[in-house]
């Protein structure tokens, strides 16, 4: 072939070597964007996959030392941006990209990793509310995993002292940021759990960037916390920082200080409870004493009455005995006095107004009867006399007598003179006769037989 003769003929190996050299030179520092496909992680730690887009695909590999630094898990379908170099595998002439940095597209790598781990652990139920253990009522020994030189340990110790928490603190000094920090934190939790005296563990650190806080987002820490024998309090960063450790921990405290407060609170409450109990003890005892005092007072009053009654009756008996011993004269005098009293009593009884009224009524009735009898008798006599008078009225009429020559002598006052004694010499009298009258003067008076004197 003429053409072949003109040009230099290369072997296959030469071509591949040339391509490898050229690609290596031109694509030694390249960023490639694509979707992960056909992902495969080998036991060696190397990751093999393809990066593809709508029209093409490119073999990719991430060797172990790079794969270990990945903050998130690669998987099919993930859109990533990778950094690396192109390499030709000369035995086959195929080329691939060797990636040393892979980041999820859109989200930051850490955020992606956070969400991936969160989803994974959540799926395992490690965040479940029923897994959360209550803090011990009275923690005595507190294990703390944090940096011995950070702000967090100072804040926590100051808080415990401030609230007078009577605890022993066992610090596991751990690096809390950078390479290896997560391993140390996990070791700290496990080491403290292995001790029998630890009641509660605080893992934490002060505020920082998401990279600073990153160890607390690593799975190894989450696993250590979820396996802890005692309740774990997380206190990482500031209030707005949420880490995987926070989700796995039994109690999430907003800050290291807040974590220490949770531990101290039990002691504060204890002190309050003790104060309350001491006050209640005093109050209850005072109440008991007050009630007893009242009961005693009542009893005392009661007994006093009994005593007094007994004393009185004893005195009575004594008087009786003394009375029995006195002379008969006294007794006589006494019985005399009794007689007087009886009489007086009777008199007194007579003065009783009811009895008096009754008695007076009886007396009145007697009087009435006594009065009635003569009146009735008198009345009946007079009625008889009236009857008689009516019958002999004509015969007795003085007018008839006057016709027969008799006259009636009347004194000036009209009274009838029937006896000599009624008049004296010189008295004027009027004589009444049958047809009229005339006036006379008495000369002298005398009896009927002796004539006038």
């Amino acid at each position: 072939m003429e053409a072949a003769a003109k040009s230099k003929v290369l072997t296959v190996s030469q071509v591949n070597a040339l391509v490898a050299g050229m690609l290596g030179e031109y694509f030694s520092d390249v960023w490639i964007e694509g979707e992960v496909s056909n992902f495969k992680a080998y036991p060696s730690g190397h990751l093999y996959f393809a990066l593809k887009d709508e029209g093409s695909q490119l073999q990719a590999v991430c060797f172990r030392h790079s794969a270990q630094r990945l903050k998130f898990a690669l998987d099919d379908g993930l859109q990533v941006v990778g950094h690396g170099r192109l390499e030709v595998y000369q035995p086959t002439g195929k080329y691939q990209v060797i990636l040393d940095v892979i980041e999820p597209k859109g989200l930051g790598a850490l955020q992606k990793a956070f969400e991936q781990l969160k989803r994974k652990l959540e799926g395992e139920g490690l965040f479940a509310a029923e897994r959360k253990r209550p803090l011990p009522l009275l923690p005595r020994t507190v294990g703390i995993v944090t940096s011995p030189s950070g702000a967090a340990i100072h804040d926590m110790l100051r808080t415990l002292r401030l609230h007078k928490a009577k605890v022993d603190v066992v610090l596991f000094p751990a690096q809390v940021q950078g390479e290896g920090a997560a391993g140390q934190i996990a070791e700290g939790v496990a080491t403290l759990c292995a001790r029998s005296d630890i009641d509660v563990i605080i893992v934490g650190r002060g505020g920082g960037s998401i990279e600073d806080l990153w160890p607390f987002n690593e799975e190894i820490v989450a696993r250590a916390i979820s396996c802890a024998r005692v309740p774990v309090i997380s206190g990482v960063g500031h209030e707005t920082d949420f880490t995987i450790a926070d989700f796995v921990a039994d109690v999430r405290a907003a800050t290291p200080t807040a974590a220490a407060q949770l531990v101290a609170r039990a002691w504060e409450e204890l002190e309050d409870r003790l104060k309350d109990l001491a006050a209640q003890l005093l109050e209850a005892t005072e109440q008991v004493l007050f009630e007893k005092q009242q009961a005693i007072d009542e009893l005392a009053r009661h007994r006093a009455f009994e005593l007094m009654a007994a004393q009185l009756s004893a005195l009575g008996h004594k008087v009786e005995r003394m009375a029995g011993a006195v002379e008969g004269s006294v007794r006589t005098r006494l019985s005399d006095a009794v007689a007087v009293l009886t009489a007086l009593d009777r008199r007194l009884n007579r003065q009783n107004p009811v009895a008096r009224v009754l008695r007076q009524r009886v007396a009145l009735q007697g009087l009435a009867t006594r009065l009635e009898k003569p009146v009735v008798a008198l009345l009946s006599r007079q009625s008889i006399r009236l009857g008689q008078a009516g019958a002999g009225l004509d015969a007795l009429s003085p007018l008839a007598s006057l016709g027969r020559g008799y006259s009636i002598c009347l004194k000036p006052d009209g009274s009838v003179v029937s006896r000599t004694g009624q008049v004296r010499a010189g008295d004027d009298v009027r004589l009444r006769v049958s047809d009229g009258s005339f006036d006379c003067r008495v000369e002298r008076t005398g009896n009927a037989d002796t004539g006038g004197q």
Partner: protein, 83 residues
Amino acid sequence: MAKNEKPIEAVDFEKALAELEGIVKQLEAGNLALEKSLALFERGVQLARACKEKLAEAELKVSQLVKDKQGLFSEEPFKEDKE
């Protein structure tokens, strides 16, 4: 002191508080003989005092774990850096 009542020093803090609580409840319920009431009060005062003393005397003790060459941990006092 009844035989079921331990000397205060040996009584656990929480147990002491629980006993004190029980004593207060008994006293508040009343219907106790005066002697018994006073005995309970005395015991309660002892418990409260012991607890208070324990609270007062306890100091925050801070130690840290240090790993030796064999990878074993030992405890030593933790000295805080001056703030």
